[in-house]
Amino acid sequence: MTRVDATRIDRLDSAGAQLLSRFIHRAGLGPDRVELRSDHRALFKAVVDVDTQPPDDDAHKGNLIDWFEGVGRATLDFLQDLRALLSFLGQTIATGILVLFHPHQWPLTATVHHIQQTGLNALPLVALLSFLVGAVVAFLGATVLRDFGAELFVVDLTTYAFLREFGVLLTAIILAGRTASAFTAQIGTMKSREEIDAIRTIGMDPFVLLVLPRLVALLIALPILALVAMISGLAGGLIVSSFSLDIPGQLYLDRMSAMVDVRHFLVGMSKAPFFALVIALVGCMEGFKVGGTAQSVGERTTSAVVQSISMVIVINALAAVFFMEIGW
């Protein structure tokens, strides 16, 4: 075969031109050995030009290697995230100490604003949800304890649960969903519209302006909310006890103050600052990680909520073990 007569092709699209180009390539002919109608020549030439280039190195790796690569990447990503969080914590502490010596730099208005946003505005939600969980815990305890005729121990159950664990944990989880996401979206939107860079070029510190007020606001708001959550949870238990377990309110309160030490309250409250720190830092850090696109704001917000909720639960578990070991 020395030449290809393609003059009787009526219509030619790029797919057809590619077939023709591959055919003559396999037959070992040059593109000049193809006769084409004049109106098809330009298309054929354009396709031959790009189709005969050697394929760029894009050989597909084996699936197993891909998988290992994925695992490796995920591991590294996790370690880098952890490192980033620690360095973020360090930077925040360093900035915080610096600002302590220059109190006039303190963004007081922003701090108060965030206390309102994260604390006051979340109060009804935290109170309502804790009340409901308290009622459920009391019901659940009663169904088991009734078999032993020990319904009165419902008081101990709800009190221990809410003072030590549920009050602060529920608050932290609600705030992780409500506040960490808000922090990420606020800072992330500013990042994607180059507002953070604008702050830097003006000569202000985005850490002082954006991170510190949020962190301090949460450090103040979260313990207060946790206290509210404890009270509401106990109220939920009390209402259920007096209306469906025949434990009068006075008895409930008497037993509570007689049996329960103040240290349980302290155990619960001691965790609040750590949760506040984690939620504020993760929320702000994910905000700073936002890239240029609107999609990345969404991705980072999801990541902030997932990370902060998981970390709150993990820290709570570690704290439980710790307090059990020291016998509190």
Partner: protein
Amino acid sequence: MSEPAIEVRGLANRFGTQTVHEDLDLSLPKGQIVGVVGGSGSGKSVLMRAILGLRPPQAGEIEVLGRPVTGIPERDAHLRESSGVLFQDGALFSSLTVVENVEVPLKCHGHGLSAALIRQLATLKIRLSGLASTACNKYPSELSGGMRKRAGLARALALDPDLLFLDEPTAGLDPIGAAEFDELLRTLQQSLGLTVFLITHDLDTLYTICDQIAVIGERRVLTVGPLAEVEQLDHPWVQQYFHGPRGRAARR
């Protein structure tokens, strides 16, 4: 020249009380690059959306390649197979890689082509658009603005359309990238025999690659014709546009 590629008669577009087009007529010949210019807010993009059937007009008739656009279902296969669109920032699907983006129209209208052939055709279109095939497996967010436009062009060309709609293809590109894009467009138009509807503010693009210019203003098409004719039109906006400082600089 046979029947026109795009024929618009008596088009009216209104948003509430605001009228964008009123009694707009336009007829574009086949096989040419038509530059559409007009001030900001003069309704260039609205006109494009109306021709594409994305926005039903309040009045008027639009025919694309001899078939009416108004009153047909939005997913009409003929219109979709015979036209490709490049939106301003590419409008690539951000969850898909470049090659997957180009495969979308092939899968939708490919009439059961094999996956391997679809991949092969998509790669060809990406290369025709001047991207290396290493870009195939990247996500749109990993590409520069110029590469995104080329990827968008590859997707617009996926089905070998007769008509190509471009919304400000050179906006946001540096002058070198813009010139390369112009040249690419010219080459593709000639080899694939495309009719190109090109909305642009880029005077260099107008001067280098457009065969015809359509000027939109005062809610209608002020004039359509070769550049030399349009430039001479005695209309204040046209005079200012082509003979202002930027217009003079581009012509040199």
